[in-house]
């Protein structure tokens, strides 16, 4: 077991607060793929809310905490393209002028991965066997897609699930309007964007929406629920890990 990659699981603040199931699903998938994992207690958030608000000072302080919490691992894996993208692409720039942290941030950046890309591209997880009867559609979360190139990976894994039928959206790569604090700053514009996404989802006739980022999923699930749609929303890790006993995002407890 000494060769097993040692992975620091970066749960992300939304999963930590809103949906522990995604954290447990991530852990289960990483372990199934042969990784040894730890969940550092000192992790909080990647700092994006501050970074994207133009508050570099706080963003850098939070980034330093994250770097310190995760630098000892072989890999840092997050069930979010947005947060993984922050570590991978923005930490080096954010901490470039920090003599104590610049090199450390670069090192963490190089080993930071979005969960699904990590499973398929790094550990090349092939030994899996899942069954989930139902129709799903898939939303490409923006940061994962455009910062990390996560596009085919989730589809390739989903294709191997027995009984699952993927119905593509007309515009899978168009933003759902979440955008972190964007949805709070311009809620009406964001609402128009998520409504288009919801309509696209409903038009597929799929019973379940999957995606790789909890922010988008909460936004879309919230809009689907407000429209009175029956489509359920889940993180793709939940399906891959076979953890679908819990209610869907925003769904009723059974």
């Amino acid at each position: 077991m000494t060769d097993a990659p040692f992975v620091g699981l970066f749960a992300t603040c939304l999963v930590d607060l809103y949906r522990p199931t995604v954290g447990f699903a991530t852990a289960r998938l990483l372990e199934a793929a042969g990784c040894r994992i730890e969940v550092p207690r000192s992790q909080i958030c990647c700092g994006q809310p501050a970074y994207n608000a133009g508050d570099r000072e706080n963003a850098a302080a939070i980034a330093r905490q994250t770097v310190a919490a995760f630098e000892k691992y072989d890999y840092v894996v997050a069930p979010s393209g947005s947060c993984a993208g922050m570590l991978r692409h923005h930490y080096p720039e954010l901490l470039a002028a920090d003599a104590n942290y610049s090199a450390r941030a670069n090192a963490v950046a190089e080993k930071s991965w979005e969960l699904i890309a990590f499973l398929t591209d790094v550990v090349r997880w092939t030994d899996f066997d899942a069954r989930w009867p139902g129709t799903v559609t898939y939303h490409d979360a923006c940061s994962g897609l455009r910062e990390l190139g996560v596009k085919d990976q989730p589809r390739n894994l989903l294709a191997r699930i027995d009984g699952l039928e993927l119905r593509e959206l007309e515009a899978p790569d168009v933003c759902c309007g979440f955008g972190g604090t964007f949805c709070m700053k311009y809620p009406e514009v964001s609402a128009a964007m998520v409504d288009k996404k919801a309509a696209d989802i409903v038009a597929t006739g799929a019973a379940t929406l999957l995606s790789g980022d909890l922010g988008c999923l909460m936004n879309i699930a919230g809009r689907l629920s407000r429209r009175g749609e029956t489509v359920e929303a889940r993180h793709v890790a939940e399906i891959l890990a076979g953890m679908t006993d819990v209610p869907a995002i925003g769904g009723t407890r059974r």
Partner: protein, 473 residues
Amino acid sequence: MEQGTSLSFSANAARAQADADLQSALDKLQRDTRTGRPAIIARLPEFEALRDRAVAIKDHTLENLDHYLEKFEANVIDAGGHTHWCEDAAAARETVLEICRAADAKIVGKGKSMVSEEIALNDFLIANGLEVVETDLGEYILQLREETPSHIVMPAIHLKKEQIAETFRDHHTMLAPDRPLNEPREMTKEARVRLREKFLAADVGITGANMLIAETGSVVVVTNEGNGDLTQTLPRIHIVIATIEKVVPRIDDALSILRILARSATGQEITSYTTFATGPRRTGDPDGPEEFHLVLLDNGRTKLLDGAFRDVLRCIRCGACQSACPVYGAVGGHAYGGVYGGPIGAVLTPALDGIENAWTLPEASSFCGSCEDVCPMRIPLPGLMRLWREIAHAGKLNKARARRGLAIWAFAARRPWLYRTGARIAIRVLHTLARRRGHIRSMPLAGGWTAARDLPAPEGGRFIDQWHRKHGA
């Protein structure tokens, strides 16, 4: 339509969202963009390599801008043209007016030019007694309607054809009121007849420039209607207004950039007309203007050149970022309140009008990255918007409530013990509010969210607490 300022973006956006005609026009633009651009690019395997080349050309030129501008000027003068250096909008307007007055001009024909919008040239010339006629079909329609362009290359994209037909009936009162105007072809024909009269009567033709070529002193103008040619060849005087970053070193460079321009702008391989103009009519030339003037405008470019926003000077005004942007797609270009809407406007308008007058625009982005993805010149638009956010944050320009909320969150996020306690409390509160429904329908402080969406309730308990309870350390 009432336009509003950049600072009133929220209110402008609300108006735009309530405008059914605008929404259907924007939906059509987005549908067409989704199919048009990818199809045309798929047929050009070297598209990505061309992008790299175009970026390298522009970066090199910007690095040596003084050299290439001087070379360009020398070649313009060699070809018999005149150059006029203008630092700001006022100087450029005055210069154009002086040239018109010296030529005793009465009618000015105008090709499409965003720079002329930047310096509000038409209003100024008209106020000084000149008749100014826009000759691009879209711009002509907007001139009749007293509106500004809402998109860089499709200026009247916010209008449906029924609205345009109505505008023509209102203004072309000399024509039979019951003439058919249902098809774009009929409208184009009608505009062409009206514009022909002006082309022939114009004393001065004013065009913008897609590029300036240093090695020859030539000006490149692309159009799909040929109006650019008629504007610059028929009148006695041709005035080009261009900002200084439009220069490229050689003809070859211009050709490289042309290959990505139309594909990015309209999904065409090339525009119907691509015109290279060098100096005035020479002895023996069958046509061409008697005088050729180049108004070279800075209008804030030198300042951009020196700072962190330099990359935006690579922009070739193709409008691809606008067509691809989902925020632009929801509100249209006028909501941005400046000359340029969409992502490029969110970066340029704060530079042109001052961040204190436009801090709302860089915030009007979900940072989805579509703009950077399609930008042929690989301008890091989200990164530059974030840079403006940093400047706005440092200058305390944005909303106090947003800053306070962020400050409280960041205070906790930097103190893990406090964050953990706060998180546990927040989860419990949200959980209680949701009761058994699994989501919250309305919540104080999150009214923006819950106006249109339910707020999914937390499952209960922090993941990290639960994990460590199960796994010990």
